[in-house]
């Protein structure tokens, strides 16, 4: 896919955020994912050209970080936390349940291209365990059933909104654009905090 002149201008503005251009390699890789859905050869070659690097230097970076995908993921990329705490509290069961429900293995994509599945590491929401992420938005306190409902809603084209996130779930490509540092105007959407985040505050206000 060719990048539009608007895309190239965006990439240029990403590069200009930094005192040294090489620093832009990560946001540019996120940006490539926002356009292509994953990091393909064309993206690596374009970034190498924009930053005056060798392609090997770009692919060395791209392959280091797990969020950069080598093949297309689903429109909704679902990550189930199976690090110890979430796993013990139900993450393992959720992951097993989703694999069976979707008929895919880890890193698999449903045939309709809607949902991909991955087991992920701790996502810094342990007080909301078990946690499921979709396009890196929080789905807190999940159960096997709620997770199945979630992916079903994605496949039917009307995904449930995140627990702590925007009013509607954005697509993988749209989320990647946010991760490239581009403001999608949805920061004000959703709750400011979930109940566990407020627990200590509430208790202190109760004078305990």
């Amino acid at each position: 896919m060719a990048y539009s002149s608007e895309d190239l201008a965006t990439m240029d503005s990403i590069i200009k955020r930094y005192p040294r251009s090489r620093s832009a390699i990560m946001p540019l890789l996120h940006f490539v994912q926002s356009r292509v859905g994953y990091v393909n050869g064309e993206g690596i070659e374009l970034i190498a050209k924009l930053l005056t690097l060798e392609t090997a230097e770009v692919s060395a970076v791209a392959t280091f970080y797990t969020q950069y995908k080598r093949k297309p993921v689903g429109e909704y990329h679902v990550g189930v936390c199976t690090n110890t705490l979430c796993a013990v509290m139900g993450g393992d069961a959720i992951f097993a349940g989703l694999k069976a429900h979707l008929g895919v293995e880890n890193d698999g994509v449903t045939e309709d291209g809607k949902v991909s599945l991955e087991h992920i590491e701790c996502n810094a929401a342990c007080d909301y365990a078990p946690v499921v992420m979709a396009n890196w938005e929080f789905y807190d306190n999940q159960t096997v059933e709620s997770a199945k409902d979630l992916v079903d809603s994605m496949r039917s084209g009307n995904p449930k909104p995140p627990t702590r996130g925007p009013n509607t779930l954005v697509t993988w490509k749209e989320a990647s654009e946010v991760l490239a540092g581009i403001n999608d105007g949805k920061a004000h959407e959703g709750v400011q905090a979930g109940a566990p985040s407020l627990l200590g505050l509430r208790i202190s206000k109760e004078g305990k």
Partner: protein, 783 residues
């Protein structure tokens, strides 16, 4: 280390022994001073410390304060009051090292019996010294597809790799060619290339050489030998004037591989891939094994040595003769040719420049180069370096590495005067002074240098009239040092040996009577010829004009000159005695052909661009072939004179006995720059240079090496590309009245008037195809 440098010495105690080392020395190397070998993999003295493999852990305390855990001795500089306990005296360090070794081996395939590295493998050796006898690992080993080609000449076996990152650090830090990198993460981390960009670095062989395991292997050596079957001989590289120290490994009379030798003042521990992997020419070609003499029927037939020598002597004696010696002769052989011309033939008509040359160059060499010395160390100290008619990475790669080292270390300023920005200058982030081909002299005149600056002048500077004059003037006015860097290994030696028309050995001007007396005395002859000798081109012209009748030719490719038709005609016409290792354009036209020893079969020396002697012994000891020098002596004998140069040792001794010339240095006549040809429409001015890897004769038969050569392209500027409607990859036909070449276009940073193409690459042999090399007008059309 120079005596003038004041070095702070620090005394530390290692395993109970005191040792004093310069400040900044790493613990691992301080231990070496005591003969204490700490095992290591990632450590390399010429690469930045990384501390990745953790094999060299030792216990350290400083002034009674102990580090809580063992430290990597390859990353820690010595400090006053430091007490180090290695594996020899610390149980903790010993266990730490053994633990790391065990971990390095859990995923190692242990395929030593089929691994090229077996027998000379740091992992194998250190596993013996530091490893367990039996493994405790009962799990599943990491496997990869093996091996994979990362270029046509380098293979990668990721299972064997210990991820020390020496190869990737070399490629990045030393060669500035980060085409191999560490990829993936954690236990899956692996060395690799980007799938579409192979490891096409001119220096890739060094990565193979410093690999401490069998992960990187060279395609040419793979499965060929066991280290213990090889006989190693220290040698010097014959490929260019950089002067690399080398090691040649021979099995049963055949060179199987060559490695970079270790000479801190020259190539450090590196060399280029041409020097490493281009050696089959010695055996790939049908070597001449017997003398040949042209018979009455005009056919070259095998002859006995006495027969051939007699025929050679007769022909040379009966004619007015001249000597052409290529730029690849050893210093001693060149001296032999130089002396033979004067003593045997009574002429100064001898020239080592079997390439484009000029009279301006002759005078420049006599006035500014011979008997001077600018060195690698001077580059280390220079405040800036000016490149004139010289592309270091292509034409003297170790000079490039040294410039790059200083650039990376202290941002050495490099300025290149050229028509096209080269890959090498780009890597050096050099100032590119863009000029039209032929207009270099004016740009040189505008440079501001000082006494700490260096001007590196390539042999191509002679291709632009007035350029060497401008260089000389710049050096005179600023005090900057000049270094002349020819491409071929033998040129500097030949210059010092007087294998050129205006100089006798030791830089003595032919025109200087005292100089002639000096040399005549040593040579034991009453007098020496007084007429300044002619250049190669002039000698060929003289043959064609009938004033020279015989040529003694050694190691010359007549197609390397600008007027190869004239050269070939002259060779057809003259009585030619050829000294060669293999049939060539010269031998097929010769009347007497005398086979000589190849470089591996003889001893001798080269003088590199610094003027530094790079001597070597025969690597192949049982060769029956004789050196040029020995054969020249035999011809002289046959002619009734004597060279008294029966052996290389004798020649070397005689050269030493000449002593220094303390007379006047020759001066140089100024030459004015040529007017810039004006170009319009489809006209361009050609500029070109030879690439490191190309169709050079010494690279014959090296397919793996050739696979890493840079792509043959014709480079034009964005402006001209636009006006011609040309984009990258489209074909351009470049024509002169002589002929044409058709090449894929590449739009890059080049002067608008200029078009660049490689001078001697596949599909682009400009001297032969177009009859020109630099500064002349060509017609270019898009096909």
């Amino acid at each position: 280390m120079t005596t003038s440098a004041i070095v702070d010495m620090i005394t530390v105690v290692i395993d109970g022994f005191e040792v004093s080392v310069p400040k900044g020395t790493l613990v691992i190397r301080a231990a070496e001073q005591l003969g204490i070998q700490i095992p290591r993999f990632c450590d390399h003295p010429l690469l930045d410390p990384v501390g990745a493999c953790r094999q060299c852990l030792v216990d350290i305390e400083i002034n009674g304060r102990a580090f809580p855990k063992p430290q990597a001795s390859c990353t820690i500089p010595v400090e006053p009051g430091m007490i180090v306990k290695t594996q020899l005296t610390s149980a903790v360090a010993d266990k730490a090292q053994k633990g790391v070794m065990e971990l390095l081996l859990i995923n190692h395939p242990l395929d030593c019996p089929v691994c090229d590295k077996g027998g000379e493998c740091p992992l194998q050796n250190q596993a013996m010294s530091t490893g367990r006898t039996e493994t405790r690992f009962e799990g599943v080993k990491r496997t990869f597809e093996k091996p994979i080609n990362i270029s046509s000449q380098v293979l990668l076996d990721r299972e064997r790799c210990v991820l020390c990152a020496r190869c990737t650090r070399f490629s990045d830090q030393i060669a500035s060619d980060p085409f191999i990198t560490l990829n993936e993460r954690g236990a899956l981390q692996q060395v690799g290339i980007y799938e579409k960009q192979p490891f096409k670095s001119y220096f890739s062989g060094n990565a193979v050489q410093i690999c401490p395991v069998g992960a990187l292997t060279g395609a040419s050596y793979r499965f060929r030998a066991r280290p213990f079957d090889l006989v190693s001989t220290p040698s010097a590289c014959e490929h260019c004037a950089s002067g690399c120290d080398m090691r040649t490994d021979v099995r049963r009379g055949k060179t199987l591989r060559r490695l970079a030798g270790d000479d801190a003042s020259v190539n450090e521990e590196w060399n280029c891939d041409k020097g490493r992997w281009a050696f089959k020419y010695v055996t790939a070609v049908d070597r001449l094994t017997h003398p040949l003499v042209r018979n009455g029927a005009g056919v070259l037939v095998q002859a006995s040595w006495p027969e051939a020598l007699a025929a050679a002597a007769k022909g040379l004696k009966e004619n007015t003769s001249a000597v052409l010696v290529g730029g690849r002769a050893t210093y001693e052989d060149a001296y032999g040719y130089s002396k033979f011309a004067r003593v045997g033939l009574g002429t100064n008509d001898v020239d080592f420049r079997s390439r484009l040359s000029s009279d301006e160059e002759c005078e420049f060499l006599a006035a500014y180069v011979v008997r001077t010395s600018t060195t690698y160390r001077d580059i280390d100290r220079a405040d800036q370096v000016l490149l004139v008619g010289f592309e270091p990475e292509e034409e003297s790669p170790i000079v490039f590495l040294r410039l790059n080292k200083q650039f990376r270390k202290r941002a050495l300023k490099v300025t290149a005067i050229a028509s096209k920005l080269s890959i090498g200058v780009e890597k050096l982030k050099g100032d590119f002074v863009k000029v039209a081909p032929g207009q270099e002299a004016a740009a040189v005149a505008k440079q501001t240098l000082n006494a700490k600056s260096i001007i590196l002048v390539g042999e191509r500077a002679c291709e632009s009239a007035g350029l060497l004059t401008a260089v000389a003037a710049l050096a005179d006015s600023t005090g900057a040092k000049i270094a002349w860097i020819p491409r071929r290994a033998g040129e500097r030696g030949a210059l010092e040996a007087g294998a050129i028309g205006n100089l006798l050995p030791g830089g003595r001007p032919v025109a200087d009577a005292a100089a002639r007396v000096d040399i005549a005395a040593v040579w034991g002859v009453p007098s020496l010829p007084t007429t300044i000798g002619r250049s190669s081109d002039e000698i060929f012209a003289a043959v064609n004009a009938g004033t020279v009748g015989a040529l003694l030719v050694g190691g010359v490719d007549p197609l390397d000159g600008l007027h190869s038709d004239d050269a070939l005609r002259a060779l057809d016409k003259a009585f030619v005695v050829a000294l060669e290792i293999a049939p060539s354009e010269v031998t097929m036209r010769a009347d007497v052909v005398l086979p000589v020893a190849a470089i591996t079969e003889k001893s001798g020396s080269f003088l590199n661009w610094e003027g530094r002697a790079r001597s070597f012994d025969a690597a192949v000891h049982d060769s029956l072939n004789r050196s040029d020098l020995r054969i020249l002596s035999m011809i002289a004998q046959e002619m009734g004179t004597s060279l008294n140069l029966g052996t290389v040792t004798a020649a070397a001794k005689e050269i030493t006995s000449l002593g220094a010339w303390d007379g006047e240095r020759a001066t140089m006549t100024s030459v004015s720059p040529a007017q810039a040809p004006s170009v319009s429409g489809d006209q361009f001015i050609l500029t070109s240079w030879r690439r490191l890897l190309d169709l050079g004769t010494l690279q014959q038969g090296e397919e793996n090496l050739a696979g890493t050569a840079r792509q043959t392209v014709a480079v034009i500027s964005p402006g001209r590309a636009k006006s011609m409607g040309v984009v990258d990859g489209e074909l351009l036909k470049i024509s002169t009245s002589h002929g044409s070449v058709t090449l894929a276009a590449l739009v890059e940073d080049i002067h608008d008037d200029a078009i660049w193409a490689p001078r001697n690459s596949r599909g682009s042999q400009l001297l032969v195809n177009l009859g020109i090399g630099h500064g002349d007008v060509v017609t270019v059309v898009k096909i």
